[in-house]
């Protein structure tokens, strides 16, 4: 009899536990269905994503390391003779222009951020209408590109967006709420564009009437702030620098391309003096 009670109690206790587990399992599955979570695989995807991101970060660090070593080699060969010293200097200049070395200097920092007004939806406006109306309260990729472009026009020598160096081939675009610079994701707000150059020239380029930032000032002046910076350091471009398609042109082709460019320039001059003639002649000489 003693024995019989013992097994009943134990099995009953385990039954209670199992009932609880079943209920818990049911509730969890319910939640998965409700949240539209792709059940088990989500965890796996998340893990794969994190791993890939870590890989990308370490690879980027590796690229930077290799680039640094390359620069050291270039400097070392430069110290050999006077001629190669000049060569190394030229190379350094090209590196600065290409954005493959970290540079410091004075300049400005332009900070763009989404307006707080975007969150204040009036009650009498529908959700969909508000999405259209609140467009101008957000920073878009085109705004960042405009700022970068204007900074270049104002004589910036090196530019970074959210500490991603902007090179001659850098795309800047939005993917949802994030901004992709050099195919690296950064925050969409605030966006800090830093440019090295003459601070006053850069500042006046930014402050120009009818300039790129004028529209923001009309909407909400807190969306933009510009600061002169005495000294800052922009990071080097940490992406791939291998070329697969572009080759250095031979002399004949280069000369021809130069002539074309000069022709186009002449056409431009003509367009300024007599806009009608360009349309009439259709760009023919």
């Amino acid at each position: 009899m003693e024995h019989a009670r013992s097994w009943t109690i134990q099995i009953s206790v385990l039954s209670v536990i199992m009932g609880g587990l079943v209920a818990l399992s049911l509730k969890t599955q319910d939640r998965i269905l409700k949240d539209q979570l792709p059940d088990v695989r989500q965890g796996r995807l998340a893990r794969a994503f994190v791993e890939l991101r870590e890989d990308a970060t370490s690879l980027r660090r590796q690229v930077l390391d290799l680039q640094k070593r390359l620069r050291e080699y270039q400097l070392q060969t430069g110290s050999d003779s006077e001629k190669s010293k000049l060569l190394a200097q030229d190379l350094m200049l090209a590196n600065v222009l290409a954005g493959t070395v970290s540079v410091s200097g004075s300049g400005v920092a332009v900070t763009l951020r989404d307006s707080k007004l975007a969150e204040r939806k009036p009650n009498d406006i529908s959700e969909a209408d508000w999405r259209d109306l609140s467009e101008e309260y957000y920073i878009h990729d085109r705004d960042i590109r405009d700022v970068v472009n204007e900074l270049r026009a104002s004589g910036a020598e090196a530019i970074s967006v959210n500490d991603q160096r902007v090179t001659g081939l850098t795309p800047i675009r939005c993917v949802g709420p994030v901004v992709m610079v050099n195919d690296v994701r950064t925050a969409g707000s605030p966006v800090v564009v830093r440019a090295i150059g003459d601070p006053d020239a850069l500042l006046s380029g930014m402050m120009m009437t009818k300039g790129v930032l004028d529209a923001f000032r009309d909407v909400d002046s807190t969306m933009v702030s510009i600061d002169k910076v005495k000294s800052m350091t922009l990071p080097a471009y940490a992406g791939s620098t291998t070329l697969r398609y572009a080759k250095v042109a031979n002399e004949v082709k280069a000369n021809e391309a130069q002539r074309q460019s000069e022709n186009a320039e002449r056409l431009g001059d003509k367009a300024v003096q007599d806009p009608q003639s360009v349309i009439r002649d259709g760009g023919k000489k």
């Binding site: 097994w7 009943t8 134990q10 099995i11 609880g20 587990l21 998965i32």
Partner: protein, 116 residues
Amino acid sequence: MKGQIWFPLFGVTFGFCAVYFSQYTLSPMFAPYLSIAVLAALDAICGGIRAALEGKFTDGIFITGFIINTVLAALLAWIGDKIGVDIVLAAVVMLGGRIFLNLSLIRRLLLTKATS
């Protein structure tokens, strides 16, 4: 002896209701482990009832069997998740097979007891 057979059923109902109507939920991350735990518990209960009916029930074996099975199944699920192979299916097949086996034995034992 016959009345005691119903205790586990009451237990299941009680446990189910207690958790189902509580606020407690688990992260969806643990969903696969949970279903394995349910299977292991069901297997242990079936095995326990069978052993009891055969009169071979031993305290230690019952509880340790449940715990070890659950831990092992969870471990398999975890390792399988890591290396991308659903090893946990092995545990599911094994436990499922045992549950059916035990149920058929329980049925036979109860029937023979009822007829004798």
